[in-house]
């Protein structure tokens, strides 16, 4: 896809702005403590707006019916596979297809697949809620990043790179989503809540303590393990299948 420089700037700015909406408890100032709740509510509305801006940006640049059709079917497959995995603690089957597809079809496709997969599986299983735009954005960013995984010729190197990325991104996704609900669940004032005005370092430690004490990390570990194992088992076949499709239809990377 021909992305203009402006378009890249927009996508970058959108990514950073959305990260701000996840991580604000880390650097909130002491004078703003009372307004945090209002801000957090506003983010539930602003996050969809950022999503729309990025999606519009991708939809105006070089997307054609082949990209869309394959995006549609992979989204459906991902939503179905995700429903099969749902219910078992820590099992998260949404990410392996996103990561592998992004490494074949490019980071733009990865972003789109991340957002649409989470949206469609929420629509199909009734999981639409205030958290959804944040999940979509986090999954989209993971897909976006997966497009930048280097592609060494040796298969085991590529597999290692994919699994490494899957592990890191599982923790990042978990971290972002926990950070989103951290202020909601822990509130203010306890020793594991965020503390306005204490600075990024202190708040990160508080967050890690919260993650450890509430078992959030165990879920993240479960997600990392399932995603890695699924990649290990399916990547050789999935990569071959998707690459074949890309060649057959003369895909351009998105």
């Amino acid at each position: 896809m021909k992305t203009s420089a402006l378009s890249k700037v927009i996508i970058g700015a959108a990514g950073l702005t959305s990260l701000l909406m996840f991580t604000w408890p880390l650097f909130i100032g002491s004078t703003a403590a009372n307004e945090a709740v209002v801000a957090q509510t506003a983010f539930i509305l602003l996050m969809p707006m950022i999503l729309v801006l990025i999606l519009v940006e991708f939809a105006t640049g070089g997307i054609d019916s082949r990209h869309l059709a394959i995006l549609g079917v992979l989204t459906a497959l991902n939503a179905v596979v995700r429903m099969l995995g749902a219910g078992t603690a820590g099992v998260e089957t949404a990410f392996f297809i996103i990561i592998i597809s992004a490494s074949v079809f490019g980071s733009g496709f990865g972003f789109l697949l991340g957002t649409t997969s989470l949206l469609v599986s929420a629509l199909l299983s009734g999981g639409v809620g205030p958290w959804l735009p944040f999940q979509m954005m986090a999954a989209g960013l993971i897909g976006l990043g997966a497009g930048f995984i280097p592609k060494p010729k040796r298969r085991w190197l590529l597999l290692t790179a994919l699994i490494g990325y899957a592990t890191i991104s599982s923790f990042i996704y978990g971290g972002l989503m926990t950070m989103w609900n951290w202020p909601f669940l822990a509130g203010i004032g306890s020793s594991v809540s965020y503390a306005a005005g204490e600075g990024v370092g202190a708040n990160i430690l508080r967050f890690i303590n919260y993650e450890l004490l509430t078992g959030g990390l165990i879920w993240d570990l479960g997600r990392a393990i399932t995603t890695s194992v699924l990649i290990l088992v399916t990547a050789p076949a999935l990569l071959a299948t998707l690459n074949r499709a890309a060649n057959r239809a003369g895909f351009e990377k998105l």
């Binding site: 909130i28 002491s30 602003l46 801006l53 497959l77 909601f184 303590n209 004490l213």
Partner: protein, 319 residues
């Protein structure tokens, strides 16, 4: 006025109402207002919902809300909050834990009535937000909603509706392939996963190429007129919106002093984003067989949402 049934309204109406209520609930911590918002949402869902697959998740939203309320209160008991001593409700043994990260964490100890009340209100607020969004999701027909997305998002909406139409077929194919796999002798374990997913994926990809051919042969991809100038303008608007958002967040949360300016920037961001989407929507000259048909009852419902927001802002501004 038509009967108060979900499908007599535009699906976007329900989302406007839901979002307004969610926002209004987010701005208050008055338990009475929150409880009445929750009750209102449940009542509207019960009255207006119809037997559609997306309308059956009220129980899920109620269960989740209860769970969050309880978690919120439990967290307040478990993780010690600096409670004033005079209204102590529970006296639990205090516990100091040091995980080696940033000093010790105090747990349990004295729990005051006021802090429990605050936790309860906090939990109620999140419950009210969840039920407001739940109201929108339960009452708005997602397929119809996809048809009224702005033209700028047409491509993405097409991909999503393809996915929604395809998902049930995929479940069938997965079952069929899984059954066929048993003929080859192995149907258990992780090894079987590739054996099930790959044939389905191969079929799916063939399917997607056929679909793309069919879409294109029927005119998908015809572009309307969008000049270079318009395109650049739209992008600058997007960028402006994003910058305004970031600045608003900074001013509001980090600085905390210039709230009015932050609010203005936030509104500016929304306006810029709307303009960007509006301009980009011109890239297509498609028409729609069924257009959104806003009636007076839609406006009435949305106006109700607007009043809720107005009330909330007033309530927050003038304590």
């Amino acid at each position: 006025m038509a009967a108060l049934k979900a499908s007599n309204f535009e699906p976007a109406t329900w989302w406007v109402l839901g979002i307004c209520l969610a926002f209004a609930s987010g701005m208050t911590s008055n338990p009475l207002i929150l409880i009445s918002t929750i009750a209102f949402c449940v009542a509207v869902i019960l009255i207006a919902r119809e037997p559609a697959p997306w309308s059956q998740s009220l129980k899920f939203y109620l269960g989740l809300s209860a769970f969050i309320l309880l978690t919120r209160v439990a967290f307040r008991i478990v993780f010690n909050y600096s409670a004033p001593a005079d209204d102590t409700l529970l006296q639990l043994p205090a516990l100091e834990i040091n995980l080696g990260l940033g000093g010790s964490i105090s747990m349990l100890g004295n729990v005051s009535a006021a802090s429990l009340g605050a936790a309860f209100a906090d939990g109620l607020r999140l419950s009210a937000i969840i039920l407001s969004i739940g109201l929108a999701n339960t009452l708005a027909n997602p397929r119809k909603l996809l048809k009224s997305t702005p033209a700028a998002l047409y491509e993405i909406a097409s991909a999503i509706s393809v996915a929604i139409n395809l998902a049930p077929q995929l479940i069938e194919s997965l079952q069929r392939v899984r059954r066929a796999r048993s003929l080859r002798g192995r149907s258990k374990g992780l090894g079987a996963l590739a054996g099930t997913v790959i044939p389905v994926l191969e079929d799916t990809i063939d399917h997607s190429l056929a679909l793309a051919a069919s879409m294109d042969a029927r005119g998908f991809g015809r572009r309307g007129t969008m000049s270079r100038f318009e395109q650049t303008l739209a992008r600058l608007m997007s960028l402006g919106s994003l910058l305004a958002t970031s600045m608003a967040i900074y001013l509001f949360l980090v600085n905390g002093q210039l709230q009015l300016l932050a609010l203005a920037l936030g509104l500016l961001a929304v306006a810029f984003a709307a303009i960007a989407v509006r301009i980009t929507s011109r890239k297509s000259n498609r028409t729609r067989l069924i257009k959104a048909n806003w009636q007076s009852q839609d406006f009435a419902v949305m106006a109700f949402g607007g009043v809720a927001i107005f009330g909330a802002i007033m309530h927050w501004w003038l304590p």
